[in-house]
């Protein structure tokens, strides 16, 4: 797995504008950069290839009847090095293999919850394994967590 250097280039896929703004502000406060935001699968498909995000936060229920699992597949097919984190009120609905995504943040999240998850994810992506304790707000996908054990 490639090592990235902060600031990470972050894509936000969320159909609720306020929540998207909220997440964007917290991602920026964590020292990263928002490269794009999308409200549906169609928005993600319409992004230019050069957007190539390092990290994508993906809501499960999206606008125009689309969903985050399809967005996850699309991102993996198009930018296969992007780390994908689901953000959802129903973490139980995520399949066991996470559809190849790397983790999940449960909604509702607080500023503390998202910031500490962001910090932990940054360590997991840029300098694995993460050294700070895993925040309760974040759950790594089994495959992603295993990749740290072998580094």
């Amino acid at each position: 797995m490639r090592r990235l250097k902060p600031p990470l280039r972050v894509l936000i896929v969320e159909d609720e504008a306020l929540l998207a703004m909220d997440m964007e502000s917290m991602v920026e406060d964590s020292g990263h950069e928002i490269v794009a935001e999308a409200a549906s699968l169609h928005d993600v498909e319409a992004l230019r290839d050069e957007v190539r995000p390092d990290l994508a936060f993906v809501d499960i229920q999206l606008a125009r009847g689309t969903n985050g699992l399809d967005v996850c597949r699309h991102i993996r097919a198009r930018w296969h090095e992007t780390f994908i984190i689901f953000v959802t009120a129903n973490p139980a609905k995520i399949p066991d293999d996470f559809c190849g995504a790397h983790g999940v943040i449960a909604k509702p999240f607080s500023r503390n919850g998202l910031m500490s998850a962001m910090h932990y994810i940054t360590q997991g992506v840029c300098d694995p394994p993460p050294t700070s304790p895993r925040p309760a707000s974040f759950l790594a996908a089994p495959a992603f967590a295993e990749s740290w054990a072998t580094t």
Partner: protein, 366 residues
Amino acid sequence: MNERDDWHLTDDIKHEAGRGDPFAAAVRATRMPMVITDPLQPDNPIVFCNEAFQKLSGYEREEIIGRNCRFLQGPDTDRDAVRRIHAAIAAGEDIAVDLLNYRKDGSTFWNALYLSPVRGEDGAIQFFFASQLDVTERVLRQAAIAEQKAEVEREIERRTADLKAALEAKTLLLHEVDHRVKNNLTMIGSLLRLQARTIGDPEVAGRLEVMLERVDALATVHRRLYQSDDINQFDVGAFVDNLVSDVIGASGRSDIRVEMAVERIPVGSSKASALGLVLNEVLTNAIKHGYPDGRPGRLEVAARGGHGEARISIRDDGPGLDMADPLPGGLGATLIRRLSKQVGADVRWENADPGTRVVISFPVES
């Protein structure tokens, strides 16, 4: 007369000696239709019928004598009942059965038939004696009652299905409302957070953060409400479980180990928001004071119902509070005081050494 000699009376009839016999006279004159058949003759023909039987069947005596009883049957006579009669005759047993019979004019009547063998001194069957009774009214009345009962049952079933559908629609609607309320509360949280970001003063930002936690707790209440099967009840136990996960998750503190033992505690939905806010104040307060500056520790949460009282205890293993004045200051204290009073709850702080235990108790229906 000795009852054991009763058969002599019917025996006498064989000899047509009954004209002056008071018992034979009674059989002739009674209002109960009766016939006697002779199984020793081919096809077991009727050898005697009384006047009441002629009246009931509409046939003259000459049309009756010498015929098998089946001439009373018609297209709607129950074949199974007829088979049972044949079986009883073959076995030499008596039988009582309700049978649909036909009069001479084609009209029908329900016949409560009682048929019994008459045996001679040697025990061999000599005659069959049959009494009939027109029970058409009784049978029709029973059928009418059964039909009415079935109709009422069908109606009840229809109404029950309607009510069930109405309740399901209402539940769905309320769940949708709670879902939307929860989403709106989440949006209010985002708005407050976006605003907090622009506030330079850490104390003001901190207060806004506490306000956010309260909004989040209310969002958790509504999440529980739309996930509940019973719209009138709110499970405080499951809520406590959710709230603790949410608050610990929101704090980003993975160094606080939670031990949770919660039971189902149903309370009226109208108490949900107030109880939710009280629990939120107590819990966030325990986390703030029990585990300051990243101090790791253990949080014990227990919720029990039963015996008419619910008891929720939250225990931290932190430095402990000044028991003389355990209540958190400011709006938090006021919220706990006023809202617990509103729902009839009692909140007590105890020295758990180490740490503090807060016990919230309130009456519930057991």
